[in-house]
């Protein structure tokens, strides 16, 4: 939280793709990116009466609006970014929770089915990446050609692994995949996991829903990022393609962000997608 390194100004290239997958006809994932803010948001909705897609799109919408209001036109907002992000997420949780309560009343269902959403968020500012997540959506980072998982799933399966009940090999036979222990909109309060790291030139960040990491193993994700990073939109679409080739059992969403020094001629030429941060 005390990372004040301002180093070289960096620029960011972003590519994203979302796909319903092979088995489902409804896409309950929602993604949003704001280049000017260096903001990536991904939400994977859940709930009955087709309310999952409502929950996930509310999540991305409220968070983008909230952070835009806080950060737009304030490049050097010195306040604690993690605290700011957490506040906006907690407000989004309240709104979705209230909306869910109202919907449950409208449906006249006594056993009101909850609606909720996972969240994975990345905010790049002042050479710093702020990460937040709730549920089993993930953030990975490719640095020095190595893929690293930056988040820790809030899921029953992960809890079983942490407690030593299951090893990761046995987990492949579990029926507890997709059982998340935290979500936005499920309760009046939500616990958010926050983390920060310094963004370095060459880093590639991947935000994804479980439809990707359940279908494509880490070694193949790493291979795709290392091989195709020169073409970021192609990298995103190939990750989705491989998940579908492996079965496409769930909705698949990916957001990629590549960090580069903003002084490269490439970045200057391609001013459309290269925005600056750390100035």
């Amino acid at each position: 939280m005390t990372n004040t390194s301002s180093g070289t100004p960096l620029s960011l290239e972003i590519a994203a793709k979302t796909d319903p997958g092979i088995l489902r006809n409804l896409n309950e994932d929602s993604i949003a990116t704001v280049n000017d803010l260096g903001l990536l948001v991904l939400a994977d909705g859940m709930g009955g009466y087709q309310s999952g897609d409502v929950a996930s799109s509310l999540t991305t919408q409220i968070i983008v609006e909230g952070l835009t209001a806080e950060l737009q036109g304030k490049p050097n907002n010195g306040s604690d970014l993690a605290a700011l992000v957490e506040n906006v997420i907690k407000k989004a949780n309240e709104t979705i929770y209230l909306e869910g309560q109202q919907r449950a009343q409208r449906v006249h269902n006594s056993q009101s089915q909850a609606m909720g959403s996972t969240l994975a968020l990345l905010l790049f500012r002042n050479s710093q990446a702020t990460m937040a997540h709730v549920g089993d959506s993930r953030i990975y980072r490719l640095r020095d050609k190595r893929l690293e998982l930056m988040t820790h799933d809030h899921s029953l399966l992960q809890e079983q692994i942490d407690q030593g009940i299951l090893n990761s090999e046995a987990a492949a036979r579990s029926h507890n995949r997709h059982l998340v222990t935290r979500g936005l909109g499920l309760h009046a309060e939500v616990e958010v996991t926050l983390d920060e790291c310094e963004a370095l030139p060459g880093d590639i960040y991947l935000v994804c829903s479980d439809g990707l990491n359940d279908m494509v193993d880490n070694a193949d994700i790493e291979l795709v990022l290392n091989s195709l990073q020169a073409n970021l939109p192609l990298t995103a679409s190939q990750l989705v393609m491989i998940a579908n080739d492996n079965g496409g059992d769930d909705n698949i969403s990916v957001i990629l962000a590549k960090v580069r020094p903003h002084t490269t001629p490439d970045a200057k030429k391609n001013g459309l997608f290269a925005w600056l941060f750390g100035r």
């Binding site: 999952g52 820790h152 299951l166 579990s174 479980d210 279908m215 020169a230 393609m241 492996n246 769930d250």
Partner: protein, 227 residues
């Protein structure tokens, strides 16, 4: 709810439902399933129910516990598994456990009571993805192969066994060949000019490959073949 069907010498001797979080099996009278049979330990095995999973543990029994003929210490029960303890057979039936790991809609569950301090450990979900990946590769009939001609008399061959292989020169002209369930495809990655396939530019869309196709990329000429 999961059900256990107990049989001995081919005759069904009982049915039990796993309706509590723990179910014990042994020769002692206080077990949920009491097996007064030779070779069964007093406290022989336990089934713990967590979420959609029923996990079988051998409790250090003298003669061990088998599942589908294999000795186990801990096992996540799958529909139609047969547990063997001494000469007693216990069939596990659970519609939720049909066809391997579930891909039900994401559901919300209460965090388990014994949360404690969850230390950061490598996440295990990629074991499943690996299994999926292997299934996909097994389905593919013939493996693709690329023979590289680079001027020298010795040509080298590259087997296209990975999900993708790139060819060419990074920054100048790069193309990717994907191994997909329905065949091999080449796609432009970077460079002003896309690679050429049988003398024609591959353009920006993926192009299917057929045996004896000639690819020109970077400063190399490649021949695509099926093994």
């Amino acid at each position: 709810m999961a059900k256990l069907i107990v049989s001995q010498n081919g005759e069904i001797t009982g049915n039990h439902f796993l309706d509590a979080s723990s179910f014990t099996i042994g020769s002692g009278p206080d077990n949920d399933l009491c097996l007064n049979v030779q070779g069964v330990s007093r406290l022989h095995a336990r089934i713990t129910s967590v979420g959609n999973d029923d996990i079988l543990d051998d409790l250090g029994s003298t003669n061990g516990t088998l599942v589908n003929g294999q000795s186990v210490t801990r096992h996540i029960l799958q529909n139609d598994d047969v547990i063997e303890i001494a000469d007693v057979q216990i069939r596990y039936r659970n519609h939720k456990a049909i066809d391997g790991p579930s891909f039900d809609r994401t559901m919300i569950i209460q965090a388990s009571a014994m949360e404690g301090d969850a230390s950061a450990q490598p996440v295990g979900a990629y074991a499943l993805a690996t299994a999926k990946n292997e299934r996909r590769l097994r389905a593919g009939a013939r493996i693709g192969l690329v023979r590289v001609f680079n001027g020298s008399p010795s040509s080298k061959e590259i087997e296209l066994s990975r999900v993708l292989h790139t060819f060419g020169i990074p920054g100048k002209q790069l193309a990717v060949i994907n191994a997909r369930p329905h065949g091999y495809f080449i796609t432009h990655v970077e460079g002003k000019k896309p690679a050429r396939l049988n003398g024609k530019s591959i353009g920006l869309q993926p192009q299917p490959l057929t045996p004896n196709d000639v690819i020109e990329v970077g400063d190399e000429k490649l021949l695509f073949l099926l093994k």
